[in-house]
Point group: C2
Chain length 140, copies 2
Amino acid sequence: MEPVEAAVPPYHLQLARMFAERQTAEFDATVCPVRDVLDRVGDKWTMLVLIALAERPRRFSEINRTIPDISKRMLSQTLRTLERDGLVLRSVFPTNPPSVEYRLSELGRTVFEPLTMLVRWVERSHDAIGTARKQYDTSP
Amino acid sequence: MEPVEAAVPPYHLQLARMFAERQTAEFDATVCPVRDVLDRVGDKWTMLVLIALAERPRRFSEINRTIPDISKRMLSQTLRTLERDGLVLRSVFPTNPPSVEYRLSELGRTVFEPLTMLVRWVERSHDAIGTARKQYDTSP
DNA sequence: CTGTATCCACTGCGATACTG
DNA sequence: CAGTATCGCAGTGGATACAG
């Protein structure tokens, strides 16, 4: 017998179960953890900014160079949201000209476990998805 | 000495390293795995539709009931993209009226590992983020 | 250097109506 | 039941100019 391995259900059933419970209560989209995920890291830039800060603290323009195609407006806005959520810490150094440093908080660091898993998944699946698409697009 | 545990770097550094390598090459947003993630599951409905299919195959209107606030238009569109990417399989039964069944492919099932991690992360972090926000909003 | 303000374009998405 | 077609809006984000 292999009791332990048999006891833990596969991931898709775990998630299904989590949401089956929610289904019983009356529906409220505002307390759905998945929509929460999307609100937090589902936008165009948040993940990339977090990754830009993964290795070490960086200054505003340094992040901007790491993500060349982000506008100052969006970088600023994304950083403020991350700061507000407590994922990123901001320090101003009153030099001249002023320099501002952003770094991950402890909480911010914890995103990287699930984030890394997700990035690995796309990398693993990239080819399979590509061929699936090609097949879908070329068939009647 | 504890060679094995010392050898595996924390997640945020793993990701940082993955992207540091990319930085050396000339920048091309179209081959970035993070933007790939966002394109695939970063939209408003994809994750929710996948979860709706996690436990077992479902028919169109059944999914619609699971996600009450999705429009038929978006459900249809989301399902087609998932089918095109090979994550979801579609079967038509020529009954009258016609019934169509959607189910996860093998590839589709593999999303749930990283997806579950991500959902767990928000659930774990939800309170911490809430208090961080409250503090940010009430301070000068 | 580190932002903010203003304006504008695009598009994702919802509402509604219609079809096999 | 399982969609598609058309329309319209609102929010997201880019460009530019300005400011501390």
